[in-house]
Symmetry: C2
Subunit: 337 residues, 2 copies
DNA sequence: CTGAAAGCGCTTACAG
DNA sequence: CTGAAAGCGCTTACAG
């Protein structure tokens, strides 16, 4: 192939193509970017040369020149938390359809690291999606200075200029209480999540509002977010004489179910149990779990929609709240008495 | 602040800093990169100016100039599959410790898209980690031409110049069979995974080898990877008279457990069940699931180690196989008779 | 030691 | 229409 004139050693660039096709680099660039080129002969020569030389564009150079990165940064507190992968999935679908890429980082549930990561990402992303940020409000307030559009999920941001999209878990909680109240329960226990969790706060609010409206008594305890936590803290609620329990999430509910099995208490005849999340296994538990379904993938999709809009129009989108919905299965029934 | 001389409208660059600090851009660059600067007075002026102007380096420009991206691409078949987030987590920890970033893409279990994604990523990443690639061997063979170091997980790549790290699931399967054989089971069923899954192939191999060594009979069926699949296909195995069942993964095992509950068959007295993965809920099922634990996070860590080594030394690392280990809980016991 | 200059690979006004 | 040239923001040989 004596005709192949590549600068030895280096990766092929448009200069090499221009040389081989005997045109200018401007023409090469135009052809390769599908811009109108009059002379089809030239275009063909360019495409041929590009193929022959195995040309692959240097995306970094292109991004640099264009001043955009086509990359969206995503910060999640913990990839191993089954909530986030689904959000990411919804996000990933939309983002790649919009010709962007996702740069995912895990903050390890650490607020300080989260802040640093956002600052870093800001340098190499067109926009950032902050999933359930753990950082303080005052840390959040420093973010607009980064000059990058930011959308937060599951977090109210006050009057900060961020798009937000959340799930109306208070409403989900209300549905759960209403369901239980209708079955005849008058004293309900809440196996709460970690104190730092904002969604836990929202759920507690929904819980107390709905409970007082419906005239049911509530006892609650701070459990956590794992099955271990549910397993450990359930007895505390049992001691208080509740006839039904709502868990912070399905994992916690599963821990509670395990404890009840050990205690040889039947669900739902001796105690009703409600979860939160509707994870894939929820329908296959013994008994199949009544739980509040959270639109996680939709959350991801809406987050991108908000960011995309801001990128295009410069307008910070409206706050958005997605509905949660109760899925009634077989872990709830009328109380024993 | 009359002293602040920024070119209006544009983001601050080192040129602005140089002007304000009255030094050359070379000096600015050196100071900001922590390279030795003799005159501490100059350095201080630079740092002061950088802070005053709110300078944030343009990472894209820096990467472009340096010819590296500090970004590692990761392709996963499905983020919602509970296996991968843990791999990612292990990966993310190591990668960020090594001052790189993770660009995560989801191929949607689609082999063609997977191939395209890799080609795209190659343009903007220093290296790529291909998790459980679904693409054909011949597609894999086209990847070396991309000129980017690649490490594959859970996939043998023949003599392709890729690092690989996998989990010895055949050995895990052998342990499961041995455990069951020791309990007295002579006829075992396998609720297999999707036909396209390489790990399923590996497990079937381990299964048949170990079974013939230990003199146990095996009946197997192709189920899939979800609880629904396990729930649907279990009866097929029951009809063949097995006394124990091994599932492709814990999700499938959970589906089988649900079916057995419906059938009012007790586990383990009437049927033993073994899973694969040891997902967090496995210990909290009814009964707690005996399962093969897979070192997912370690898989991620080793994948990065391999890629890192290749990036540093140019040497393709050895093939690596991580051990799986059986966790015996309460879903297995001696057969009824 | 510091500064002036070149150049990374592109894209895109601007001439011709 | 195509081509020559400028320039994106950095880093880094190279002079002085």
């Amino acid at each position: 192939m004596g005709r192949t004139v590549t600068r030895s050693g280096k990766r092929t660039t448009i200069v090499d193509i221009a040389r081989q096709a005997e045109v200018s680099i401007s023409t090469v660039s135009r052809v390769l970017n599908g811009r109108p080129v009059a002379d089809e002969v030239l275009a063909t020569r360019v495409r041929k040369a590009a193929t022959e030389l195995g040309y692959r564009p240097n995306m970094v150079a292109r991004d640099f020149r264009r001043g955009v990165t086509s990359t969206i940064g995503v910060v999640v507190p913990d990839l191993a938390n089954p909530f986030f992968p689904h959000v990411l999935k919804g996000l990933a679908e939309e983002v790649s359809a919009g010709d962007h890429r996702l740069l995912v980082v895990d903050s390890g549930e650490d607020a300080d690291q989260e802040l640093q990561l956002v600052a870093q990402l800001a340098g190499s992303c067109d926009g950032i999606i902050l999933c359930s940020p753990r950082m303080s409000q005052s840390s959040l307030a420093t973010l607009p200075a980064l000059g990058v559009p930011i959308v937060c999920t599951n977090r109210s941001v006050g009057d900060l200029p961020f798009g937000t999209v959340g799930i109306d878990s208070a409403a989900g909680m209300r549905q759960a209480i209403a369901h239980l109240a209708e079955l005849g329960h008058r004293h309900i226990g809440y196996l709460g999540g970690p104190g730092t969790s904002l969604s836990d706060g929202l759920r507690r609010e929904g819980l107390s509002t709905a409970a007082s409206e419906l005239g049911v008594k509530v006892s609650s305890t701070e459990a956590g977010s794992t099955s271990d936590d549910g397993h450990a803290k359930l007895p505390e609620l049992l001691d208080q004489g509740v006839t039904a329990v709502i868990a912070f999430n399905d994992l916690v509910a599963i821990g509670a179910l395990a404890r009840l099995r050990e205690l040889e208490m039947d669900v739902p005849s001796q105690l009703s149990v409600v979860g939160f999340d509707d994870i894939p296994v929820a329908a296959f538990l013994g008994p199949p779990l009544t739980t509040v379904s959270l639109p996680k993938e939709e959350l991801g999709r809406r987050a991108w929609a908000g960011l995309h809009q801001q990128l295009e129009t410069g307008q910070v989108p409206q706050e958005e709240l997605l509905p949660a919905s109760l899925v009634v299965r077989h872990s709830t029934a009328a109380p024993a008495d």
